[in-house]
Each structure stands twice: as structure tokens, then as C-alpha cells.
Amino acid sequence: MTDGAHRLTLAAVTPGQMLPELVHDVTTTTVVQGSAAARVWRPMHHDKDYAVHRQGVRDIFLDTQTQCAWLERYLTDWAGPTARLGRLGTRMRTPVFPGDRMAIDGSVRDVETDDSGCGWVVLDLTIRVGTTVCTEAHAKMALPVDASDNPWTRHGDRWQP
């Protein structure tokens, strides 16, 4: 657990900035723990026989919700706990299997402040295995505009994700 002291503010972010890469060696446990926590009981996420013989893939694979959970973690590892996710879009291209070294990368596409004064970063994200892009994603996340700001205090018209 982080101590919560790292709190990125909007002024520290610029378009084109690259986020640090997150690498994780995916195991069968990674896949099954994720799908169980996401309550996804489709058999291709826990039953290798089903995945191989019915789905025609080489093993069970990470479900969509679990991939989104990793992306959310990736974003707040970078930005800290005051960051608040406003939007996340994903496009699954090819599965992530046990034995894969999953790498999550991101870059800042845009930095903006809306008419309510909320600061936003727009990010492009990928989940890769080697040179293969498995999932493409994009996110819009609010960051404090300065040390006294907190996006979590925004509601109604002051929160326009």
C-alpha cells in the first residue's frame, strides 16, 4: 500500500508525457483471482479444457473487468489517490494468458480544464504482451489543479466527465 503522499497535480502533466510502464507476470492464479473477484463465471476464465476445446485458444485468459481493474490501478499508481477516474474505454484485441508478461503503458494525449475549473488528463493506454497489443484503452481522469484542490469533492454540474 502506498501512503497517499504522492498526489500528482495538473501542472505537473504535459501532453506527450509517457507514464512509467507496469509489468506483471500473469499466472493462472492472476486470471482466476481476477474473474472470481469480478464475479465473472464464464468458463473461459477458469476452465482450461473449455478455453482450449470450445474457444480454440491456448489457455484461460483475463476477463474484461479484471483488465479494467489493472488499468485503474495503473492510473492511480501514477497519479496518486486524489486522482478520480471519469471515463474509461477499452477495446479487446487478443487475450492475455497465464505465462504472459503483461506490460501496461500509457501516454498523455491532452491536458485541459473545463468550465467548472476541473482539471483533466486524457490518456492513451495499452496492455501488451511482447510486441503484441492485447488491449487498447483510453481514459479521462481528473487531477487536482493545485495542492488545495480535490476532484472527489465535485458533484453535479461541477463534475462533467
Binding site: M1, T2, D3, G4, H24, T30, Q33, G34, A36, A37, A38, R39, V40, W41, T64, Q65, T66, C68, A69, W70, L71, E72, R73, T76, D77, P81, T82, L85, G86, R87, L88, G89, T90, R91, M92, N150, W152, T153, H155, W159, P161
Partner: protein, 174 residues
């Protein structure tokens, strides 16, 4: 839907924009499930683990935004269930209506509004946004359809909108 494909049946067109399948999450949002979810992604964000930090930053405990649909996942078995548990029922109805044996979810975009907190009871509604004409892709011949799922809490605050794009299809004979 601005352009209406000529080959979409009337009964399907009549569903566009009409809310359906209003359902309530089975159990209230709870911290054990949140801990299991953030643990699965090795997520050390202290707002999920430290009450003092959650009080300071998020105004109390919150659930991860990406956990939204988890609260609506049906249990694999329940004693009072009379039909198969199916998440996103509208999607499966369209698949059956068109007679497509296969379907994939190609895109998902979730927009998050009020945070979800332990004790919340959520309600969702599904809405068909659009259906395409029949077309052929590398997977087979079928249609794309777009479904919005709107989530609200027990105070009727908007919590999130998820937009799913699906492709229902029949694989082309080899």
C-alpha cells in the same frame, strides 16, 4: 439513431431508446468484495485500504470505479431463480432475435459520476442505442449494436453510464 438501416425489423427499431430490464443489484455494495477486487489487481491505492485517507480524500470508503458491473453479476446459482442468469440481457435478446449463434463485445466505454460506496444499492437500466445493417467482417456476417446501461444509487443519483458495442454474427462457412 440518425440513420435507420432499411433491413432492421420494426420490432427491433421500436426498442431503440426505450429503457428496459430495470434491475437492482443483488446485494448492497460491501467492503469484502472491494478488498478482493483491488487485491486481484495488486492495487495499493490507500483510499481502498486506509479509512483515514479515504475520509480525507474521498469523503469515506469508495469502491473502484471499474468494479461497477460486478455488483450486477448474477450468482452462478440462487435458490429462487427460474431462468438462466444472464448479465446484459438486452444483448442476448438481440442475439436471439437475429438468430446469430455468436456475439462478441468489441468496445466498452464507461463514464463515472457519483462514487459507489459500501452500503449502496444500485439500480440499472438498459437501452438500445442503435443497430447496424447486416455486414460481413473477418468473423462472419452479422450486425453491430450499441447498448447503454445506466446505473443509479438508492438516492437516484446517476452513478455511471456504460456503453457497449457488440457484434452478433454467424461465422462464414470455410
Amino acid at each position: 439513431m440518425t440513420d435507420v438501416p432499411a433491413d432492421v425489423p420494426t420490432d427491433v427499431l421500436e426498442r431503440v431508446g426505450v429503457a428496459c430490464h430495470r434491475e437492482q443489484s443483488g446485494l448492497p455494495v460491501e467492503r469484502g468484495a472491494i478488498a478482493a477486487f483491488v487485491s486481484a489487481a495488486r492495487n495499493g491505492n490507500p483510499v481502498f485500504w486506509d479509512d483515514a485517507i479515504a475520509d480525507e480524500i474521498t469523503g469515506g470508503a469508495v469502491a473502484p470505479a471499474t468494479m461497477l458491473s460486478v455488483w450486477f453479476q448474477p450468482l452462478p446459482w440462487a435458490p429462487d431463480r427460474t431462468e438462466d442468469a444472464v448479465p446484459l440481457r438486452l444483448h442476448f435478446e438481440l442475439k436471439e432475435r437475429f438468430g446469430y449463434p455468436e456475439a462478441i463485445m468489441s468496445d466498452n466505454v464507461a463514464t463515472y459520476y457519483e462514487p459507489v460506496r459500501p452500503g449502496d444499492v444500485l439500480t440499472s437500466e438498459q437501452r438500445l442505442v442503435s443497430v447496424s445493417e447486416e455486414k460481413t467482417t473477418r468473423l462472419g456476417t452479422g450486425r453491430f449494436w450499441v447498448i447503454d446501461v445506466e446505473y443509479r444509487n438508492q438516492r437516484d443519483d446517476l452513478v455511471a453510464v456504460e456503453r457497449w458495442t457488440a457484434f452478433g454474427y454467424e461465422a462464414d462457412a470455410a
